[in-house]
Symmetry: C2
Subunit: 266 residues, 2 copies
DNA sequence: CGTTATTGTCCGATATTCCAGACAATAGGC
DNA sequence: GCCTATTGTCTGGAATATCGGACAATAACG
């Protein structure tokens, strides 16, 4: 489990734990599933209850319902639960319901095979960046962050592209202030970041070197939807010492493929 | 979309629509997601309400909550919703949380590539058979049923293996009587089916020719978990006129790979 | 342009869900 | 063996989520 970007797990989830407040079952379910996604490992009911700030009795009730629906599954010797088969099926349905997504996955496969590099499909989830799918390089060099883990947008090359439609003001309102702080303590000046976003928009691609961690060179190219908006990107994660010649070759390929997947202007 | 096995979509979902009864939000959510999976296409809120037998106002409320959590997503011009990004992430987490599943997927990939045939990973979901993942043959011959669609167990080769741990009586209680009726109207005698199950258990594989539809020859091999139980199968879907020599060659490969993936007795 | 169906939103009331807390049963820790 | 922490289950009561139905706004039809 790549500990670089992934490592930081906060214990609190997001909710305002205003005491004495009663919450809907649906909201509990949503919070629970998101907590499980963050944890990225089977959890015990008691710990889930603590993590989402719900009464134990309620948590048991909900977990049992979800177990019955196979949205959760018992795993390991005893007491641990994690996502279940139904989730797999729902997720599969999501990613195959349109021909476009299927084409993207095929391209991801091919790109990974042909280049032997780590390739990712990225997008936004709320005001965070997430990896939607990836093909890891077969070599010993394996640095991709896990699918589904939320990462601050300014840490990533793709993030600079995905904000291309926003004004400086909108970006300012959108990004939580703390997200400009990198894992090693450095802080990206917002003004610089706005410049990066503008540059990415102008160039039609974005690169970052040794940003979120010291070892990677990332390059991202936009996939545009029918309206020309960018809501997904294709992205290489390379060793930072990859020679320039190789990098520019890969960049060209990446941009070509991403353009081929875009729906507008074709 | 392969219409053979998939085509039959009932409108009712499963619930007993005892009138005047009030239902929990959680249960509504579960029913809703299952309905969407059955439909296998974006739906409008009104139709969802009808399909799951919920009041419109309630359905709107729930759908909006799920939209906000990105468990559902607006799709198309207006009013249609389908599974959302969060589902994809949950499902991805499910299928990658253990090394065993990852190994299975790799084998599926390799088997599909090497043979060029349609390969499936199958399992049970309640008392139905479902395809969990598949690699479609690249040729014009593409007959696999869709991932996640529930199919009566007696229609399938894998089903015969997956019931291997049950007694005749247990099987009888487990399979809904209507499930012995094939799509073309023929009916499988339960006694014959019990025999098939026993044979599959004894042989360690199962084959069906032109059963669920006239064009396919299916062969399935068991993947055993740590206790020796069969809860997944690997399975080829071949054109029914595949020569015997080729078939037996594939069968050997399939059984080898499946045994390699089994956790017990290795 | 009426007539009929739909869609999305809002409201008040009541049937119910969610919560707090108690309970027995294990499982350590020392 | 005593003390503490945990797990899974149950219960009664009160806060509230679900429901039926009304509403305006479109849309579909002839």
């Amino acid at each position: 489990m790549s500990d670089g970007v992934t490592g930081l797990i906060e214990t609190e989830v997001r909710a305002e734990p205003r005491n004495g407040e009663r919450r809907r079952g649906i909201d509990r379910v949503i919070t629970l599933l998101e907590a499980l996604l963050r944890q990225r490992a089977p959890m015990r009911v008691g710990d889930i209850a603590k993590m989402i700030g719900a009464p134990r009795s309620t948590t048991y009730e909900i977990v049992n319902s979800l177990l019955e629906a196979e949205m959760l599954e018992n795993v390991g010797t005893e007491g641990y639960v994690y996502f279940g088969k139904a989730m797999h099926l729902f997720g599969w349905a999501y990613s195959h319901h349109n021909a476009h997504y299927r084409r993207i996955i095929e391209t991801l496969d091919r790109l990974g095979e042909e280049t032997g590099e780590t390739v990712q499909l990225c997008g936004l989830r709320g005001n965070k960046y997430v990896v939607l799918d990836c093909r890891d390089s077969p070599g010993p060099f394996r640095i991709s962050s896990d699918v589904g883990v939320e990462v601050p947008i300014p840490w990533t090359a793709s993030g600079r592209l995905l904000l291309g439609h926003m004004s400086k003001q909108e970006i300012q309102d959108f990004i939580p202030p703390g997200d400009y702080k990198l894992p090693d303590g450095r802080v990206i000046a917002p003004a610089e970041f706005f410049g990066d976003v503008a540059l990415a928009r102008q160039q039609g691609f974005s690169e970052t070197a040794a940003l979120a961690d010291r070892f990677t060179w990332c390059m991202a190219a936009p996939i545009r939807d029918g309206n020309g908006a960018i809501n997904k990107t294709l992205c290489f994660v390379l060793p930072v010492d990859t020679p320039e010649a190789r990098r520019s070759e890969l960049l060209v390929q990446l941009c070509e493929r991403a353009r081929g997947l875009s729906l507008a202007g074709s």
